[in-house]
């Protein structure tokens, strides 16, 4: 008994041949389906170069287009040929030309031999999973899709709209419950032949020809009809990005793939020579050395999707420049703004630095220069103290400062005499802690030795500016942690509010926890999730748990502190 590989190929034929020969070397027959879009000449040359290998056969060619019926037709033709030509075959594995077997073929053969009745096909009802990109889930099965999504997007969308408006619905053939899942399956001869030889097949085929992306639903749905034992997962490792396109593996993923514990991975960059070399020539050596850690791949690709869709909070750069309101965090870290404190206390800045452990600047937005802590002229990221440069873009100055000093709490003084352009930014920012002693700007004026007319004029100006600022701070759009005291009120009991503020800033070096909390025993959790999947209900919020795996290793990892300035 062996397994047969059905391989759908549309480009990089040389890689496909390389992989096919690898399968056949282990005794697995390969049926190739070459896309009709491949020119005749190329196909003939390809066929010729494989002709010395009796285990590689070619089936009838169909024109394959993403999301259309061709892919299913191709799988059908190839599977029929496989079942007919190779009676030894018990499992049929559907793969593409850019799939790469990671573990020795014999291991896959043994694995399947131990599970002779199991069909490996990811198959879930539409209601249970949020896989679909683009908003079509159940409607895939109830609308018609005669237009190509890739080439005729406009007609595709209009026709969907029209059907929705007219409430046209197709009838799903009786007895079928639509299921979806990865298009890469591995089915037993029994199940596959039952699907292909079904007396109702013509009805089903006619129905699925007009379903959207039938390659993700045809076998997935019909397998539910016949299989006695569905293991709802794909044996092929395949990760998708936020647009539903598969992630591609490169040479530098070698270590990752070694630890993936999967039989087959897709998709591989055709020029990833090291991967092909490692996994096709020295397979046993490639996999055996390392402990499997499939979760790592999951994390890396999940992170990539998050970076693309959410990005890093508080970062403004060449390829991330969010519109107003879409910032996902206006700044990267918490910071504190003090208004009126230096005016009221003589040595407020050094005192605060000592009490809070944070970095305390003077008036960063002062009119003369940027008063960095300690009188520095430059600070992290080579931000300069030139007031002109700062005022060229004050908001970017603030966000850059907070970004550059990630990991260290920043505090600075502010007042009505300063550049006011950051008022909305800081007010809208949940990271900002703004404490205002209203009216404290009057103290330096009071102490100064100037003409009263000047003082009055200045006071009027400052008051106006501060009242505008307070209005912003009291507006409904304000998300910052704002505290405003009237100066009089503050002076009566100053310590209590100051204590609150400093407590909120917290010590910058939190006391390290001496012991890690004990985790609950997770043995069997993966199986539990798998059982849910087998029932057609896919739990996705917790991420990928391996099914057959030792319990989570509880030894405490000795993590080195990793500092990013």
């Amino acid at each position: 008994m062996t397994i047969g590989i059905v391989m759908l190929v549309h480009n990089t034929l040389d890689r496909a041949e390389q992989v096919a020969r690898h399968w056949t070397a282990a005794g697995c027959p390969v049926v190739m389906h070459v896309d009709m879009n491949v020119p005749k000449k190329t196909f003939a040359a390809f066929q010729k170069s494989c002709s010395d290998n009796s285990l590689i056969v070619f089936c009838k060619r169909h024109r394959c287009e993403w999301g259309a019926w061709g892919l299913v037709a191709a799988s059908q033709s190839a599977s029929e040929l496989m079942l007919q030509n190779f009676p030894d075959v018990r499992h049929v594995y559907l793969a593409s030309g850019s799939c790469l077997p990671l573990r020795p073929v014999q291991e896959l053969i043994d694995y399947l031999a131990a599970r002779p009745r199991t069909d490996f096909i990811e198959s879930a009802t539409t209601a249970d999973v949020p896989w679909t990109v683009g908003g079509l889930d159940h409607e895939r099965f109830t609308l018609r899709f005669p237009f190509s999504w890739k080439k005729r997007r406009f007609l595709f969308d209009r026709y969907v709209d029209l059907q929705r408006r007219l409430r046209i619905k197709r009838k799903i053939p009786t007895g079928l419950i639509p299921h979806m899942g990865s298009q890469w399956w591995c089915l037993t001869r029994q199940t596959l032949s039952a699907i292909l030889q079904d007396p109702e097949r013509e009805t089903y085929d006619r129905y699925f020809k007009r379903v959207w992306i039938p390659d993700e639903s045809y076998f997935q749905t019909l397998a539910r009809q016949y299989s006695s034992n569905i293991e709802s997962r794909s044996l092929t490792l395949s990760k998708f990005d936020f647009q539903g396109k598969p992630h591609i593996f490169y040479d530098d993923h070698l270590q990752l793939l070694r630890r993936s514990d999967c039989f087959v991975a897709r998709k591989i960059w055709p020029k990833a020579n090291r991967l092909y070399q490692a996994f096709l020539t020295d397979q046993a050596g490639a996999m055996k050395k390392t402990e499997p850690n499939p979760g790592k791949i999951d994390r890396i690709f999940a992170k990539a999707v998050e970076r693309r869709t959410r990005g890093r909070d508080g970062l403004y750069m060449q390829s991330r420049f969010p519109r107003h309101g879409n910032e996902n965090g206006l700044t990267s870290n918490p910071y504190s703004i003090f208004q009126g404190f230096t005016e009221l206390f003589e040595d407020f800045e050094p005192w605060l630095a000592k009490a809070s452990g944070a970095r305390v600047h003077g008036h960063l937005f002062g009119p003369e220069r940027v008063e960095f802590s300690g009188g520095q002229t430059l600070i992290n990221g080579a931000l300069s103290d030139s007031a002109k440069k700062r005022d060229y873009d004050p908001q970017s100055f603030l966000t850059s400062l907070i970004w550059n000093t990630r990991g260290e709490r920043q505090c600075f003084q502010f007042g009505p005499a300063d550049t006011q352009d950051i008022n909305w930014l800081s007010a809208r920012d949940p990271n900002a802690q703004i404490s205002v002693i209203a009216g404290a700007w009057a103290v330096p004026l009071f102490k100064s030795n100037r003409d009263f007319a000047d003082i009055r004029k200045e006071a009027a100006l400052l008051q106006k500016i501060e009242s505008d600022h307070l209005e912003i701070l009291r507006s409904v759009w304000t998300k910052a942690r704002v505290r405003i005291w009237k100066m009089a009120e503050f002076v009566e009991a100053p310590m209590e509010p100051i204590q609150t503020i400093v407590d909120e800033i917290g010590p910058t070096i939190p006391r390290r926890l001496s012991e890690a909390p004990t985790m609950v025993d997770l043995t069997g959790f993966g199986q539990f999730l798998q059982n849910l999947k087998n029932q057609g209900m896919h739990p996705y919020l917790m991420g990928d748990f391996p099914v057959e795996q030792a319990p989570v290793n509880m030894s405490r990892p000795s993590r080195k502190p990793y500092l990013v300035r």
Partner: protein, 328 residues
């Protein structure tokens, strides 16, 4: 906008008459080749390392415009199979600072190719550039239906005086100029073309402390899947049609982007600045070069306590100067 684009294209056709072919190996360009386009004057000392760097990245063909070099550049390039050279004695400035020439070269030889437009002192880095060739990037961009790729200029400079460590032909300039500014950039959006306008870095910090507005632009879109309809507008800062300038995400996410390490500040810089100031062939009457020459007499030091030493692209990624986007 369409009129503007057409005008650019007509102009580049007209200006193409100024170019005289010296060495044309373009017959060797195969489909899917990545093509590098560059204009220079008297940069022979930089070319050996430049060519090596980009050949190692996987660039398949080089299209050069030599603007009347007198240092034997043409002799050096003579006979290199993957290099095609055009020569011109005409004004760099009147060819829209070389853009017209390059638009024509790209239009003629770069149609349906990924083309990378860089100066000889610019070194392109992109996510995973230490492990994946440039074709991995362009294949991925093709796969994701992305037509243009942004790479911001990051000025690198030496520690100490500029002429302390003379640059030797063939040497990696990053060995000398290995420091950069990590977090003093400002970004504005250009409403006309939709591109971002980035300023800052050491040039703004040292040469334009009082007039940050006139500091040079650092945003660049050097890598484009070219078609005959495209045209650069001003250097590689902006393109037409405008959709190509949308290399940034506006909904909070990060698109993939790279950086151009700009190794202008070597010992060769002082002489260059003086020459360019008198030639008046650069943008805004060589205002930038006037500022340099002015300051250079004082032997300024670009390095400061907060300068970062360049390590690799991952460092630039962590610092937020570039991003992997959803490429993993």
């Amino acid at each position: 906008m369409r009129v503007r684009r057409r005008r650019r294209l007509l102009r580049c056709m007209r200006k193409s008459r100024e170019l005289r072919s010296v060495q044309n190996n373009t017959a060797a360009i195969r489909p899917n080749d990545v093509i590098l386009v560059s204009t220079f004057r008297n940069e022979k000392v930089r070319l050996p390392y430049f060519l090596r760097y980009y050949r190692d990245l996987g660039v398949d063909h080089f299209l050069f415009v030599d603007n009347d070099s007198t240092d034997g550049t043409l002799d050096y390039l003579n006979g290199q199979r993957d290099v095609s050279v055009w020569n011109t004695k005409h004004s760099y400035k009147r060819a829209n600072f070389g853009v017209d020439w390059m638009n024509w070269l790209q239009r003629t030889y770069g149609n349906d190719h990924w083309t990378l437009v860089v100066d000889p002192d610019e070194f392109f880095v992109y996510p995973f550039c230490d492990t994946r060739p440039i074709q991995a990037l362009t294949d991925w961009l093709d796969n994701s239906s992305i037509r243009s790729f942004s790479a911001m200029l990051v000025d690198v400079y030496p520690k100490g005086k500029l002429d302390e460590n003379p640059y030797q032909e063939g040497q990696n300039p990053l060995e000398i100029a290995s420091w950069f500014d990590s977090g003093n950039y400002t970004i504005k959006k250009n409403a006309t073309y939709g591109n971002l306008w980035i300023q800052g870095g050491p040039r703004s910090r040292v040469f334009f402390p009082e007039t940050p507005k006139s500091a040079p632009a650092l945003n660049k879109i050097p890598l484009v899947k070219w078609t005959k309809r495209y045209a650069y507008v001003s250097s590689t800062h902006a393109l037409l049609p405008r959709g190509l300038n949308q290399v940034y995400d506006e909904w909070g996410g990060e698109k993939a982007s790279g950086a151009l390490l700009h190794t202008k500040f070597l010992d060769t810089f002082t002489a260059k600045a003086q020459e360019e100031q008198s030639r008046k062939q650069h943008y805004a009457g060589s205002r930038e070069y006037a500022a340099y020459a002015d300051k250079l007499s004082e032997h300024p030091e670009l390095w400061c306590k907060w300068s970062e030493k360049y390590i690799n692209w991952r460092q630039l990624e962590i610092l937020g100067l570039m991003s992997k986007g959803n490429w993993a």
